[in-house]
C-alpha cells in the first residue's frame, strides 16, 4: 500500500477539507510523486481512503494532463509548444530534443531516463522557449543550454540552471525612465 508510509501527510490533507472528495487531487499528486505515475493500485487505494468507487477516481484522474497514467522516464521533459513560446523558437528546440534523445514526443529513451512531452502554456511566456523537467522550470532556452541541462541531469540528477523565484525584468535590468 503506497500511502501507508505517508499516513501523516494523508491525514493532514484530509484535515484541510470539510468534504473528503476534495482530497482527491492532492492524493493523486502524492501518488504520482511517490511512484512517478498514478497506478491503478494507487487509484483503488485512494478510492478506499475517500469512500469513492475506483471509476470515480479514474474518471477524475483522466481529466488532468499532469497525471501520468503509465510509467514514464526518470526525467519528464515537458516543452511548451503554445504560440508565445513558438514565436521565440520552441519548434526547432522540440525538433532538436527529438533528434538528440532519439525519441518522439510521448516516448521514453531506452535507458528510461528521459520522457519527451510537449505541453500547452506553462505560464512563462516572457522567458521562452522554456520547458519543465520534473518540478523545475528551465527558461530562455537555447540548444546549447538544453544540451548542458541534459548532461547535468544524466551526471548528477540535478541542474543549477533551473529557475529560482521568478522576476523579469530583474531589478535594474532594463530600467527605463518613467
Amino acid at each position: 500500500m503506497i500511502f501507508d508510509k505517508h499516513q501523516e501527510t494523508v491525514d493532514e490533507i484530509l484535515g484541510r477539507y470539510p468534504v473528503r472528495r476534495s482530497a482527491l487531487l492532492p492524493l493523486l499528486n502524492l501518488a504520482q510523486k511517490e511512484e512517478g505515475y498514478v497506478s491503478q493500485a494507487a487509484m483503488r487505494e485512494i478510492a478506499g481512503i475517500l469512500d469513492l468507487t475506483p471509476p470515480q477516481v479514474f474518471e477524475t484522474a483522466t481529466f488532468y494532463t499532469m497525471l501520468n497514467l503509465k510509467p514514464i522516464g526518470k526525467f519528464h521533459i515537458q516543452v511548451c509548444r503554445s504560440l508565445m513560446c513558438a514565436l521565440v523558437g520552441a519548434d526547432p528546440l522540440i525538433e532538436w530534443l527529438h533528434k538528440h534523445l532519439g525519441v518522439g514526443v510521448g516516448q521514453t529513451t531506452g535507458d528510461k531516463l528521459f520522457t519527451l512531452s510537449t505541453v500547452e502554456c506553462l505560464g512563462s511566456c516572457g522567458t521562452g522557449p522554456m520547458m519543465q523537467i520534473n518540478d523545475d522550470y528551465y527558461e530562455r532556452l537555447t540548444e546549447e543550454k538544453v544540451g548542458l541541462i541534459l548532461r547535468d541531469l544524466r551526471e548528477s540528477g540535478d541542474c543549477p540552471m533551473k529557475s529560482g523565484p521568478f522576476m523579469v525584468p530583474e531589478r535594474g535590468e532594463g530600467v527605463v525612465s518613467q
Binding site: 484541510r16 470539510p18 468534504v19 472528495r21 476534495s22 482530497a23 482527491l24 487531487l25 492532492p26 493523486l28 499528486n29 475517500l50 474518471e59 477524475t60 481529466f63 488532468y64 494532463t65 499532469m66 497525471l67 509548444r81 503554445s82 504560440l83 508565445m84 513558438a86 514565436l87 521565440v88 505541453v119 500547452e120 502554456c121 506553462l122 505560464g123 512563462s124 511566456c125 516572457g126 522567458t127 521562452g128 519543465q132 518540478d135 523545475d136 522550470y137 529557475s163 529560482g164 523565484p165 521568478f166 522576476m167 523579469v168 525584468p169 531589478r171 535590468e173 532594463g174 527605463v176 518613467q178
Partner: protein, 446 residues
C-alpha cells in the same frame, strides 16, 4: 510616460528583498490587517473596495467590491474565499512573480478579504506546474501562522482565517471560477451552469468568492492608502489602479511591467519593452491573453484599460500582451492558439468541443495548401455557432483568434487557398477519365 508609483511590484524591486516575513513586515506588511481586524466593520471594507473601483485582474474585470457584496450577510454556515492562482491564460505570467517574490502581500490580501466577507477558510488554487510558487506560498503560510497573522483569533480580535494551498493537476479550464470549484471538490474541472452564482452556491454549495491573485494583492494597499487614492490612478471612474502587464513575443525586453491602466500599448511595447527585437516592424499584438482578439499596429495608441481595449474591438483580459513582428503568418498564429483551445476544451458543451476540433482541421489544411474556397465561410459559420452558445466564456475565447485574424488578415488566408487551388489545377494535368472513356481505353487494351 508620466511618473507614477508602482503598487504591487514596489517591494520586490527593493535591493535585497526576498519576500520573507521579516522583509515584508519591514516594509509595512500586515499593517493593513492589524488596522482593520476588530476596528473596521467588514461591511466598511466592502464599501471601501467598491469605492476604489478595483476590478478583477484575472480576465473578466468584474468589480471586486460588488462581487463581495453579493455574499449573503446572514448566512449561518461557512463561507469560503478561493484565490485563483491557476494562471494559465497563454501570455500571462504575473501571478507567478507575485507569488514567488512577495507571497505575504497576497496572504495579507486574503486575510483582509476573508474578514470582509466573513469567511474563515481560504483555498489558494494553484496550477500544478507551479511547484516553486507552491513551496514558497506554503512556507509563507507557515511563517504567517507562527507570527499570528493567520490562524484562530488573529491579534486577539476573535477573527479566524485558515489558508490552504490546493494544487491542481494540469487543466486550463480550472481558471474558470466554477470549474475551479468543481476541481477543488475533487471532480473533473467542468464549468457549472450559472445561475446559481458562487456568491450563493459556490464551494460545497456555500457562499464563495473567487478572486485572482493580483486582485487580492491590491487589497492591503487600498486599506492602507484609501479608496480615493486608488480610484485616482488609471482611467477613473471605470478602470482604476495599476495592473501588472505581461509582455511576450517579438520584443527586446519581455517581462512583467506594472503600469497605471491609462498607459498605452505604445508605452508598454516601445518604451518599457524596448520595441521590436529586430528591424522588422510590428505586425500584430494580442492585448489580453490568448482569449483576446488580435489587434493591429493601428491600435498601439489605445489605452490599456478595460473600456478602451473593448472599444478597439478586443479585451484587456488577463493583461498578457503578445507581440508579433512582420513576417509572422497570422493563419499559423491562429492555428497554434486553436490547437491550445482544442487541447484545453473541457468537452462539456458540444459547440466548443466539436467546433474547436473542426477549426483546427480546417486551419491545418489551409496551412498545408489543401484549403478549399468555401473554407473561410465554413470557419465563420463555425465561429458563429460557438460564440454565446456555451456554458462558460471559453467558447467566446476560442473563436477570438480566428475571427480577428480573418477580420484583419483575410488576404493571408485567401493567398494560401489560391495556392491550394493552383496546385489542384496542376494536378489536373493527369487526366481524369469518365467511366465511358475508361471503358473505351480498357477495350482498346484488351
Amino acid at each position: 510616460m508620466k511618473t507614477f508609483d508602482k503598487i504591487l511590484l514596489t517591494n520586490m524591486e527593493r535591493p535585497g528583498y526576498t519576500g520573507s516575513l521579516p522583509d515584508y513586515e519591514g516594509t509595512g506588511g500586515y499593517k493593513a490587517l492589524k488596522t482593520v481586524l476588530g476596528n473596521v466593520p467588514p461591511n466598511d471594507i466592502i464599501e471601501m473596495v467598491k469605492k476604489s473601483g478595483l476590478r478583477g485582474r484575472g480576465g473578466a474585470g468584474f468589480p471586486t467590491g460588488v462581487k463581495w457584496g453579493f455574499i449573503p450577510k446572514d448566512h449561518p454556515g461557512p463561507k469560503y474565499l478561493c484565490c485563483n492562482a491557476d494562471e494559465s491564460e497563454p501570455g500571462t505570467f504575473k501571478d507567478r512573480q507575485l507569488m514567488e517574490r512577495n507571497p505575504h502581500q497576497i496572504l495579507e490580501g486574503i486575510a483582509i478579504s476573508c474578514y470582509a466577507i466573513g469567511a474563515q477558510t481560504a483555498y489558494i488554487y494553484i496550477r500544478g506546474e507551479f511547484r516553486l510558487a507552491t513551496k514558497i506560498l506554503e512556507r509563507a503560510i507557515t511563517e504567517a501562522y507562527q507570527a499570528g497573522h493567520l490562524g484562530s483569533d488573529i491579534y486577539g480580535s476573535g477573527v479566524t482565517v485558515y489558508v490552504y494551498v490546493h494544487v491542481g493537476a494540469g487543466a486550463y479550464i480550472c481558471g474558470e471560477e466554477t470549474a475551479l470549484l468543481e476541481s477543488l471538490e475533487g471532480k473533473r474541472g467542468k464549468p457549472r451552469t450559472k445561475p446559481p452564482f458562487p456568491a450563493t452556491h459556490g464551494l460545497y454549495q456555500k457562499p464563495t468568492v473567487v478572486n485572482n491573485v493580483e486582485t487580492l494583492a491590491n487589497v492591503p494597499h487600498i486599506v492602507n492608502r484609501g479608496s480615493e487614492w486608488f480610484a485616482s490612478i488609471g482611467a477613473p471612474p471605470k478602470s482604476t489602479g495599476t495592473r501588472v502587464f505581461c509582455l511576450s513575443g517579438h520584443v527586446k525586453r519581455p517581462g512583467n511591467y506594472e503600469l497605471p491602466v491609462n498607459a498605452t500599448f505604445r508605452d508598454l511595447i516601445y518604451e518599457l519593452g524596448g520595441g521590436m527585437r529586430s528591424d522588422k516592424p510590428l505586425k500584430a499584438f494580442i492585448p489580453g491573453g490568448a482569449s483576446a482578439p488580435f489587434l493591429t499596429p493601428d491600435h498601439v495608441d489605445v489605452q490599456l484599460d478595460f473600456e478602451s481595449v473593448a472599444l478597439a474591438g478586443s479585451m484587456s483580459g488577463s493583461g498578457g500582451i503578445t507581440v508579433m513582428e512582420e513576417g509572422t503568418s497570422m493563419v499559423w498564429a491562429a492555428f497554434r492558439l486553436m490547437e491550445f483551445f482544442y487541447h484545453e476544451s473541457c468537452g462539456k458543451c458540444t459547440p466548443c468541443r466539436e467546433g474547436s476540433a473542426w477549426i483546427v482541421q480546417i486551419l491545418q489544411r489551409i496551412l498545408n495548401k489543401q484549403g478549399r474556397p468555401e473554407d473561410l465561410r465554413t470557419l465563420a459559420e463555425i465561429c458563429e455557432n460557438i460564440g454565446g452558445r456555451t456554458v462558460c466564456a471559453f467558447g467566446d475565447a476560442e473563436i477570438a483568434p480566428v475571427q480577428s485574424t480573418l477580420k484583419y488578415w483575410r488576404a493571408e488566408y485567401e493567398v494560401l487557398i489560391e495556392e491550394a487551388e493552383a496546385l489542384k489545377v496542376s494536378r489536373k494535368e493527369i487526366p481524369v477519365l469518365s467511366v465511358a472513356q475508361a471503358r473505351e481505353v480498357e477495350g482498346s487494351l484488351s
